[in-house]
Symmetry: C7
Subunit: 236 residues, 7 copies
């Protein structure tokens, strides 16, 4: 199709192109590709996350722009893409989890939260008066067993043993496919995640890297020190 034809069908998320595509959803995927990547890896008793961001101003309080966050202290959630959209999805996930907690008096699982996020995202791609979310989400956690879900801008939830979202996520996932094995212990999982993130000449330092682990006992973001130790221990 000629570019000028594409333009005829790409102005609203409520229009299909003649070949059955939703261009606004595809453009939202481009917004995801503009954001720094995050890797998630399930290990035998945890889910580990590693995230890469450009070196920031020394004046920024790092905690405020962390991409790895927790939901109710238990599940981990990360987003890539348009930052403000990602925040709104995190807020949505937290509010949803909190309500589930109140209603059923137990920690909602990774699947439940991920599918609620997926429903919320899909609706933004079909109903008029709004645009899709320019952000993808990873949700991981250990509720009975370690699980990891990704939700893309079309609103499709997919469960992964390990995956990546954001810039170069395709290449990073290939690297994960080569290295990942079932039943990794946490330390090996962390090293797999970091090595995958380092592909494409990304320079990992304690400034550009965020690491967090979520276990049955809860969510632990790594501090600067633990991240540096991990970088030293990882063979690139």
């Amino acid at each position: 199709m000629e570019p000028n034809n594409q333009q005829a069908y790409d102005r609203g998320s409520t229009i299909f192109s003649p070949d059955g595509r939703l261009y606004q959803v595809e453009y939202a995927r481009e917004a995801v590709e503009r954001g720094g990547p995050t890797v998630g890896v399930t290990t035998e008793d945890s889910v580990v996350f590693a995230s890469y961001g450009n070196a920031r101003s020394s004046l920024v309080v790092p905690e405020s722009i962390e991409k790895l966050r927790d939901i109710d202290g238990q599940l981990g959630i990360a987003t890539a893409g348009h930052v403000a959209d990602g925040r709104r999805l995190v807020e949505y996930g937290r509010r949803f989890a909190h309500q589930e907690q109140l209603r059923y008096d137990e920690q909602p699982g990774v699947e439940t939260v991920s599918k609620a996020l997926a429903d919320f995202v899909q609706e933004s791609t079909q109903v008029g008066g709004t645009r899709p979310f320019g952000a993808a989400v990873l949700v991981g956690g250990f509720v009975e067993t370690p699980r990891l879900y990704g939700v893309d801008p079309s609103g499709t939830p997919t469960e992964w043993a390990a995956t990546a979202i954001g810039k170069d996520s395709g290449d990073i996932r290939e690297s994960l496919e080569a290295e990942y094995e079932t039943g990794l212990d946490e330390h090996s999982g962390l090293k797999v995640a970091v090595r995958a993130l380092a592909s494409e000449d990304r320079e990992l330092t304690s400034e550009t890297l965020d690491v967090a682990v979520t276990r049955e006992s809860g969510f632990e973001p790594f501090g600067s020190e633990k991240q540096e130790t991990l970088l030293e221990e990882t063979e690139f």
Copy 2:
């Protein structure tokens, strides 16, 4: 009609073209054609489903992207096309079935659920502020007798002895027409379904194939092993 004329009438589902066509609905059918095919076959005491998907990343947890799902443990439901739209239809079907169950205290039938889905889909093609669903649905099950319905993006429900949705569904249905006989036993039905799906040089392996059977006793998704046995037992 010249292509530039077609463009004048294909931007919204609330516009007829001069020859009485609804282009957005036809484009939604194209979205269905972009999705991997699923076959449904009624047998004497079950409905069998077989679904083909591209080989996936080894990191994906296959269960999370299964196209063959159950409604209330009894009816089977499958979608083809835009995945997130398909999920929304499955969710709608489940919620509808659950409400019927609560209201009448009995398992809703295949026809009831299919027609509720068809109403929901038709509305999306006529009322402004939304787009059609880029997904088709198969609903099958044994409630008193085995029945199988398809719902297309225009919102038309059709009952079939056997049919297919998704990529190459026309060719697959021709293959079914040639092979299908009334009163097949379940094992023969499974082989008919798999052979039809294998047409057009699709290479069926336990990675690309999903099989499920729904009987009076409930919905059974086949595991990897049972699928391999079935592939071995089928003469191509």
Copy 3:
């Protein structure tokens, strides 16, 4: 008017053209013309319907695509055109009749139901945010006396002794005008209907033909056998 001028006024049902036409309603009539025809004929104590559809896949369960349906077991209703739109009108008619039944505790008449359908259809041609229905409707029945109504996409109800909707309806109606007589007995009415439907070289077989009769005693769809007998008894 030049075609490019017509285009200036045919994008929404809420716009008149300079010569006072509603193009979207006219295009919806084209959608009706794309659907297989149905004939309705009043006889002395019944209304008979005969409907023609393309030969279908042998896998389709014919009952699911029947164009001749009942409302509350008593009135017959048929549609031609965009199938999903037709279904919605049938559903609307059924729900309306059911509510009337509950409210007044008696079978609503053909005129009452037809005019309710006409109101519903007209509104879709005047109010924004929706499109016209791409379907025409026939409603017939014996409530005190046999009556038959047609409703077109503009929302106009017309009562007929005999008429047709759908592809070639104009030619079929001419054939009915030539053959129809007041006070036909049911069997003659059936033959008149079938002969009119057979005009324009339509080949009638028990696969392509649907016949139903609605009498004071209720709605009777003909089975395959009765249809074949009728075809044999009719002189073409």
Copy 4:
């Protein structure tokens, strides 16, 4: 103004052209001109209506397409133009009259009903989300005295001694102006109406003509026989 300039202001009823015109309302008047004409004449103790329609199919039940109808058995109402729009106005008038009857326990007058219709029509020309009605209305009756009102697509009500709506209404009104006299008896009024309708070479027969009279005693539609007698008695 150049035609292409006119087009800039004629797509919605909520836009004035630079010279202060509402084109959509003018186009709705064109829709009225496309409908067969109806004449109304007040006489000393009645209002008579005569309406011309194209020869119809012999299969149509004439009552169902009569243009002359009653409201509550007392007032007469006729429309010209887009038939389905006319029906909606008749329904509105009936519902309005019925509510007035219930509220005040007396027959609402011609003026009251006509002005309610005018308000309803005017609103459709000013508020977004709808189009004007492509139909004009005549309302006549004897409540204390014989009165006759016309309402045009702009929503303006006008009282007349005698008038016409629909195709060639201008010429017909000229003919009425020449022949009408105050205090006509009913029979003379009928002949004046029929002669005016016959102008412009319209061929009046009992098939193309509808006649009705509304008196203090109520609304009387003429049957075929009375119409033929009238045609015979009228000197053309």
Copy 5:
């Protein structure tokens, strides 16, 4: 500004042009200029109105198209421009006055009613989904003292000793400025009004002229006879 630039800003009443104009309001003023003029003049103990309309069909009942009407028997109201819009404003004024009457149990004044009309009209020029009113209004009456207000399509109320609305209102007002004196008696006021209306070669006859006076004792429309006498007594 070039005409094609003007077109860029004149399609909706919710858009300013670069030089701060609201073209739709200006076009609505053109609609006012298309309507026959009405003059209002305050005298020492009354407000007199004189209105000019084209010679009408002899069949029209003049009362039904009178431009001079009363509100609650006390205030006089007249409109010029798009007739149906004018009627709606009269209806609004009447309903408003009636509600005030009920609420405060006293005749609302000219200013109160005029400002309510102005608010209603202004809103139509700022909020989307509607168009301005293509009509101007005069409201006059004697509540404690004689007062006369005009409301234009922008929704601005202005009080006048004497003024005109409608076609040639500028010229007529100049004529009033030359002739008007404070404290005119009613008969002189009537002659001033009629002479001003007669400017621009308008031929005043009892068919084209409407006159009414509103005094403390109430609203009095002049009949044909009184109008003829007035015309005879006026020196042109």
Copy 6:
């Protein structure tokens, strides 16, 4: 930016231009510049207003078009620009002040009223379905101390010792800057206001000038006589 580029961003108040401007708000400022100017000056115990308007028809009742009005007898309010929009803002201010009075049982201050007006105006520049107000507002009064606020079409409130709105407001303000001194007595303040208004060759007469003073004791509009005396006493 080329003019044709500007046009791409100036049709709605909900669109920023690429350089971050809101053209519809800027065009609304042009509407303000089209209105006659008003000056406001705070003195030691009052706020004085002086307003210039074109010589009006001798038939206009001057009070009805006064630009200087009071709110609850205490605060003064003036507008410049599109007159009907200005009126709506005055009405809004009055209604707001009245409600505050009822709620807190004390005279609301100048700041409170001005900020409520600013909020109301800002909303019209951000939310769809309406246009900005083409009017600026001055609010002044003595509640504890003399204060004067201006609100522009963007909805920004600014407090001034003295300022002007409307045509040539920039030049007038320069003149005020040169002459104004803190702690002026009322008479000096009046002369400063009048001299500033007279700049740009505006000819001030008791017909073109409106003057009002608002003191702790309330709002006093000057009559013709007092205005003439003031003009005589002012050295130009």
Copy 7:
């Protein structure tokens, strides 16, 4: 991308461009760049703000256009960009803080208020019918510890040790990065803020500078005198 392509995607905040950008949000950032800059710096026991504005008319009451304001007497808030939008955000922050205070009976923290503002701003960038805010916000305060947040027009909240918003904010932030040290005392923090603001040849005087400090004990705006002293004490 060619400029004319950019235009295809920059008219509404609900549309992504093909490369995943939201142009309306980027244009809103340009609006922020048009506003005078404000610097915020956290010190060991306070947050200091310094703001630069063009020399204003001597008639403006400076307090009314202060960019440094308090929320509930405790937190400081500043905006840059479209002034009326900034005011609306300040109002929103105040109302939110007030409600939190009522609900939990304690001073809400800087983070809580900033994130509420961020949610409010993000929504304006995704939902139709509104435009983004053309303003950025700084929120600072001492609730347990000194904290400072910035919120940009995309709705992203970021915590800073020190930062700037508005014109040349990038350059000013570089200057802050060079000078800022953790644990500055308040006086040093003030001098850092003022020096950073003075970069780019901005001439700071007590007319163009606004300074405020917010401590545990509350918000203190500096008066003219304190500002002059600070300017004298600062080495540039």
